[in-house]
């Protein structure tokens, strides 16, 4: 047993637990925006940790894995931002517990003018 494979597999386990909790958040949260919060944050860190752990296990793959990590860290927030913008444009409401919605106020002001 080599130490780098043990360390890598433990990091991978941590990342997979974050991925599982993110998916649980996507399943349990009450509305689209909260779901997206859970989904984006947990999948970004979870994928980064999982891939990094595998890169430590097989250190000859580290370069490829780092390129994948950079790609995911750059594109994941952008795709979630595009989805959130589209959903708000379409008029999908926030959950009933919400306290404020400044963007909607702004849009209705623009309609009146």
């Amino acid at each position: 047993m080599s130490w780098n494979s043990l360390l890598g597999s433990i990091i991978t386990l941590l990342g997979s637990i974050f991925l599982f909790l993110g998916a649980l958040g996507v399943y349990r949260m009450p509305d689209l925006y909260n779901r997206m919060q859970a989904g984006t944050k947990s999948t970004t860190l979870g994928t980064m940790l999982t891939l990094l752990g595998i890169g430590i296990c097989h250190y000859e793959w580290l370069g490829q894995v780092l390129i994948l990590i950079i790609f995911i860290a750059l594109t994941n927030p952008i795709s979630s931002h595009a989805l959130a913008r589209a959903a708000h444009f379409k008029g999908i409401p926030l959950t009933a517990k919400s306290v404020t919605d400044k963007l909607k106020e702004e849009e209705s002001k623009a309609e009146v003018l």
């Binding site: 649980l24 909260n34 919060q37 947990s42 970004t44 931002h81 404020t100």
Partner: protein, 162 residues
Amino acid sequence: MNKIVKIVFSTIVLTLFYFIWTRTTSVNNILVIAGLGLFVSIIYRNYLRSPILSPKKIAYAIFYVFYLFIEIIKANIDVALRVIKPVIPINPGIVKVKTKLKSPMGRLLLTSSITLTPGTLTVDIDGDTLYIHWIDVKDKEESGATEKIVSNFEKYLEVIFG
């Protein structure tokens, strides 16, 4: 002249990425990829941007990456603690904040960082106004929300992107 330096630099970066991905040692292979990289760089010659580098900016960029990583870990622990409770404790809403950054790249990094940090998600951007979905609204007013969400990142990004 400036444009040629940018094209050559972009070609080298693309070839380097291919080399890291495949770890090939054949010279012919790398020459073909360098030609393709040159072709792609010439197509995108008007979109290549290079920031003016200085040691202070590089130091701030490295520190920013570490700061962002710590914030991402905090965000994940926050999400995990919310998700496993029987009744999810949320107090959500969309708030409006203002940013002082001017460059498009700085704004892109700011919105991505906001999305990855605890409890906030960028919904829309309109000029210098950002609309942010906040899972636990502490301050409905613009100035208070700006101070709580944006100002921590702006300190670094203002130096890096000027």
